[in-house]
Amino acid sequence: MSDPVWLVPLPVVVPLLASGLTLALYRRPQAQRAISVVALSIVLAVSATLLVLADAGPLVIDIGGWAAPVGIDLVADRLSALMLTVSSAVTLCVLLYSLAQGEADGDEVAPVSIYHPTYLVLVAGVANAFLSGDLFNLYVGFEILLAASYVLLTLGGTGERIRAGSIYVVVALLSSVLFLVAIALVYASTGTVNLAQLAVRLPQVDPDVRLLLQVMLLLAFGIKAAIFPLSAWLPDSYPTAPAPVTAVFAGLLTKVGVYAIIRTQTLLFPDGRLDDVLMWAALATMVVGILGAVAQDDIKRLLSFTLVSHIGFMIFGIALSSHLGWTAAIYYVVHHITVQTALFLVAGLIERWGGTTSLDRLGGLAKLAPVLAILFFVPAMNLAGVPPLSGFLGKVGLLQAGVAVGTPLALVLVVGSALTSLLTLYALIKAWNKAFWQTPPAELPATHIPLGMVGPTAALVAFGLALTVFAGPLYAYTGRAATALQERTPYIDAVLPDGLRGEGVSADLAEVTP
């Protein structure tokens, strides 16, 4: 059997290569579209293959053949492969959606020649962050996706987007500097940035220094994941971007931060000394986020606030530090990426059809555009956690895990998350009543929505339903991923087979010529 590890770098390499190609072919929009679709389809196929292969054990590749602790390695374990698969499915759907939108609006409206290369770079950055087995490479992955996101957010350079963009860029730069400082401190105290070697060396570091490192990393990731009180930038900046861009940001970028928190909390700091702090942060994120959503009267802003709020659920699951908690948290991440992206795509459709996303000006969509109503209703109920949809399953898993841990704080969080679910339902039902049931205050433009935009949205909604139908196997998979996270040894052994070095050339083995 040929070794399948050559598949691991493809989700990063293929989009980057395609990005260069699309940039070179900026005069040929048709070729650009074809290249983007083919590249993302390849990424999806590779990710799905990795998902199956990684179930047998982590796949590790040492880039350039340089042995692991000094060389950079990419690791696809169950968690990475799962995140990668979901993210590539979502990015492909959003790409198809934006293609249809570009076709319908005419390419003069948006600078599409920049859009494709940037979007592909974003995908590569996300994949790099998920696969990275090295703290500094994780930073590079973050920077790749952030740089792409700056461009996408300020696409066209209108006044509103520059306003939103300046807040977003400055906050993101601050978190990058924090991350960089954290890496420098990690290197100073351990002499390595390889995650597997860090897992081995960090227990020998002074506990107070270790706590400092943990706090620094959590701060940096917390800004990216939009955990309260580091979340204020998100609802300000996301809603102004074009609908597909907002959708992919909402679905993926915060989840990369959540993924980084899961990875570092489980692999590097398994003693969980900050779990109580994380619990409180999770509670505050849930409650403050959803109260923000209740006050909004714009669908996109409302959804941005629910996004912040539901990050709290994932942090809750992570902070429980139990097998059940992590299982549910990973399942919830998968569910939330799909549902949140779908909802933002539907918001884009509503904006297109009704000319606005303001709930005061929309109305009667249930009668006028029944397809939109179905497309909105299913993921909205899914997000709110109405049984039997996947949101309900994820939340029940989290509540069970919280009750199983049973500390007073965990029980407070259980109550808080139940309350947040109800408030989510309230906010979404209110949006439903205003946009779909009330008499429209004025005639809506009823712009034609091309089938190419409805199709990908429907596909994502269906994907969300599939997460419900196949919840059994998926839950089993996230359970096995959580087991691997809890044991830690599969990851470390895969990266450093002999406990010291990865496979490949290393200084000890290289011939030294005097």
Binding site: Y150, V151, I162, S166, I167, V169, L174, V177, A184, V512
Partner: protein, 165 residues
């Protein structure tokens, strides 16, 4: 073993860069924020130099004994970080310029929606306008509070079968 006691001059410089950087980052004008980001980035880069231990001979095999070499890894990271900071600086500069083009200044603006919600909250108004709160007729609450006792028989029945309030 590398000598890991930090160079005091570097530490003082890092502290100064971070202090000034944070101060500038809190400013409202994007160009000052930009300078702040650059200073913070440079501070972080210097921190990597400290993290790599004391400076030594060039890390090329055969040119110096291994014990006297400086650690090349942080330097590689610093190079990457410098390139990234350069790119981000260029982008921020472009954005500040675009903001100046559009508005005549490069200040970070308030969010209009936030302003609107804050104003509504100050006036104690609702974020939503509902049809049943707008009109002068009975509100949902008043309607709900009305007597609808069907057994007592005093509730008059309208011709279309509904109860008359």
């Amino acid at each position: 073993m590398i000598d890991m006691s930090p160079n005091l001059v570097l530490v003082v410089v890092i502290a100064a860069l971070f202090t000034v950087g944070v101060y500038l980052l809190l400013e409202r004008s994007l160009s000052r924020v930009l300078v702040g980001v650059i200073l913070l980035g440079n501070g972080a880069n210097l921190l990597f130099l400290v993290a790599g231990g004391a400076a030594g001979r060039p890390p090329i095999l055969g040119q110096a004994p291994v014990a006297e070499m400086s650690d090349p890894l942080p330097q590689a990271m610093v190079l990457t970080a410098i390139v990234i900071t350069l790119g981000m600086t260029a982008f921020l500069l472009a954005m500040a310029y675009r903001s100046w083009q559009l508005h005549g200044h490069d200040e970070v603006q308030d969010d209009v929606e936030d302003r609107r919600i804050a104003r509504l909250a100050a006036r104690d108004e609702r974020a939503f306008l509902d049809t049943d709160t707008e009109e002068s007729m009975a509100s949902l609450d008043e309607e709900a509070a009305e007597s609808r006792d069907e057994t007592s028989g005093v509730v008059p029945v309208a011709p279309d079968g509904g109860t008359v309030p």
